[in-house]
């Protein structure tokens, strides 16, 4: 192969068939296309309706005072206070879970894409991560209960008379990190695999070890996918209810255990926005729909922000081209 051939510009991508008339198609095909259009637009309409409805209800029921007062027990909307503690707890739980899920997820992704020896173990790890992605969160909650009720993990939650309560911020964050883990692993791994091998070889050629290459070359290059994975994982974490209801104890306000300032709060129980919505929905024990709307609105704002974040990270990832 001559060098001119090798350097020739790649053929332009096939032009998309724009404005091609479907009038020559059979009726069934045209109906099918119309149905596809309909469903596509319906999908947008559902999303728009969902967001608009929650915005309207949110603006109707959300009062600034709700963001700075704690939930109280009561029978009417004016008695039950706001959701300061659930809001703070959501953030605390999100930070703690991601503090576990992101490093562990990156480590697993690096191992899978750069080492993956022995082959059998790599296959086991791969299917385990896939299995974990399909595991219902309620099962992680059940498993977490068993795990954190074990006496040797008693220091992570409340203990009374030798019985470990097993519900705490630590337990919740640990189990929720397992929920986010598969998303982080999948995204980071994809990012690492998209880096062509000549980049690695260039690094080895100047005498870098594999470890240094991974730390200095591969992970910085894969940063957009780390970001995307983390935000997808974060979406899963702040959106989960089952684990929180079961493992955070689902108390109205934070209920610390012990006297050490921060540790006692983290060993104690609380509730997040999701469990707050669950509790205050008409089907829940609280039954304060106004409060549920307001909290759901805040929750939706968080999700929308994450969604924008994923978009931005994805765009940055696309800007990175290797073969130029």
């Amino acid at each position: 192969m001559t060098s001119t051939q090798a350097l020739a510009a790649p053929p332009p991508p096939a032009a998309r068939r724009r404005n091609e008339s479907s009038s020559s198609w059979r009726l069934t095909d045209r109906l099918g296309l119309a149905f596809a259009w309909f469903l596509g637009l319906l999908f947008c309409a559902i999303a728009a309706a969902l967001v608009l409805y929650l915005f309207v209800q949110g603006i109707r029921y959300l009062r600034p005072s709700m963001l700075v007062t704690n939930p109280r027990a009561g029978y009417t909307e004016s008695q039950t206070g706001g959701f300061l503690d659930p809001l703070i707890d959501t953030i605390v739980i999100a930070v703690m879970s991601m503090a576990i899920a992101v490093p562990v997820g990156i480590a697993i992704a690096v191992w899978l894409s750069e080492f993956a020896r022995p082959k059998a173990l790599a296959r086991v790890v791969e299917s385990t991560i896939e299995m974990l992605a399909g595991t219902p969160s309620i099962l992680l909650a059940l498993f977490g209960t068993l795990l954190f009720e074990a006496p040797w993990l008693g220091f992570l939650s409340r203990t009374s008379g030798g019985v470990v309560f097993g519900r705490s911020f630590f337990a919740t964050a640990a189990m929720l990190s397992l929920l986010a883990l598969p998303l982080v692993v999948a995204s980071v791994r994809e990012g690492l695999q998209a880096i062509p091998s000549h980049v690695r070889e260039a690094s080895y050629a100047v005498g870098k070890t594999k470890t240094a290459t991974t730390r200095r070359v591969l992970l910085p290059a894969a940063r957009p996918s780390v970001l995307t994975g983390s935000m997808l994982g974060l979406g899963r974490v702040i959106g989960d209810t089952a684990v929180v209801v079961l493992l955070l104890g689902n108390t109205l306000t934070n209920d610390p255990s012990g006297s050490v300032p921060i540790l006692s709060a983290l060993r104690g129980t609380g509730s997040t926005l999701t469990s707050y919505v669950y509790y205050n929905a008409p089907t829940g024990d609280g039954d304060q729909p106004g409060k549920a709307y307001a909290a759901a609105f805040v929750l939706l704002l968080l999700v929308l922000a994450l969604n924008v974040g994923v978009d931005v990270a994805g765009r940055r990832g696309r800007d990175l081209r290797w073969n130029s």
């Binding site: 096939a14 999908f43 080492f115 929750l299």
Partner: protein, 332 residues
């Protein structure tokens, strides 16, 4: 990675060896945790299976009464009751998840084909974030919207007084129904399917599609006969993931399904879709306060073990479905 061949001459250098071992150990810990989950949950649920045998999965009696009896006999080990027949819960799971998956699959396939091939650029730019947003909305928000919007609508506008009367002695129809659960679950799982379907359709080699177009087949037929068929493993993988999510969905279903241990009866005719029920996962979260009673605890973990088993089976099915795709090198 093929460059291993170049690097692996001679023993690996010190820091690399250390890094590999550290990462390997971490990976083993995570695998161990997942294995432990299987062992722990099955072990904790075993007494319930052991007392009931295969009848655990069968029908018989009112499952809510059984749950009550198990709970109230509670802490007295000598009088512990274990009799439990989970069929209404299993049947409810099958009906709700089955219905939602079928609806979501058909809609997702059309939407995915639309996004991958036919949508104008501006609409595609809208649909991408829309799909991701719908996939990220917390299930409890879907549940809330179901309870305050869909359930009253079904109760007031869809169920006629006549159909309410037709099942009165057996069950009350109040809008919390199979229909509400199916519709909301379909909206919840469709985005998962669409994302994977679109990826699958995109990875179909362009030349295969163009070959078909060159033969004069119109674009619509081409996509269905060549694209969708080639992407079949992706369709299966997406369906499997969506099914797993549906089976494991506890919170939303506990809110809109009615939370009654009743098996919706297709023999009732069309009214069947308005009947309330309660799937497996929702049963766990509804009775979570009762973990303090040992027999109840074993029963709930047994329900969990069934869910875990179905999740594992679905994961295995997804793996098996991916194998032909690997052969063509269409996925990594």
């Amino acid at each position: 990675v093929e460059d291993d061949v170049l690097i692996d001459e001679g023993p690996p250098a010190g820091p690399d060896r250390r890094a590999e071992l550290t990462l390997g150990a971490l990976v083993c810990v995570v695998v161990g945790l997942v294995l432990a989950m299987f062992v722990f949950v099955l072990h904790e649920g075993w007494p319930s299976f052991a007392h009931n045998g295969w009848h655990w999965f069968g029908a018989g009696g009112n499952v809510d009464d059984q749950i009550n009896a198990i709970y109230t006999a509670g802490n007295n080990a000598a009088r512990a009751v274990y009799t439990f027949h989970a069929w209404p819960l299993i049947w409810s799971t099958i009906v709700i998840v089955g219905g939602a998956v079928v609806i979501a699959f058909v809609c997702s396939l059309f939407v995915a084909v639309f996004i991958a091939e036919f949508a104008p650029a501006w609409l595609r730019a809208v649909l991408h974030p829309v799909v991701r947003l719908l996939a990220m909305v917390p299930s409890v928000v879907y549940g809330l919207l179901g309870v305050v919007v869909l359930v009253p609508f079904i109760n007031n506008d869809l169920i006629s007084e006549q159909s309410k009367a037709s099942v009165t002695p057996i069950i009350t129809l109040d809008g919390y129904s199979v229909l509400a659960a199916v519709v909301i679950l379909a909206v919840m799982i469709a985005p998962l399917m669409i994302a994977i379907f679109v990826n699958g359709l995109r990875s179909v080699p362009r030349g295969w599609l163009e070959g078909s177009l060159a033969l004069g087949i119109n674009p619509w037929r081409t996509v269905w006969k060549v694209g969708v068929r080639t992407a079949k493993p992706a369709l299966i993988a997406g369906t499997v993931i969506a099914t797993a999510r549906g089976v494991g969905e506890a919170v939303m279903l506990s809110m809109v399904s009615g939370s009654v241990g009743f098996a919706p009866n297709p023999a009732d005719g069309f009214v069947f879709i308005y009947e309330p029920s309660r799937p497996l996962a929702a049963t766990i979260i509804d009775n979570i306060d009762q973990l303090t009673s040992p027999p109840m605890r074993h029963t709930l973990y047994a329900l969990g073990a069934v869910l875990l088993f179905s999740a594992a089976m679905l994961s295995f099915a997804g793996w098996a479905a991916k194998q032909p795709l690997l052969r063509y090198g269409l996925v990594s």
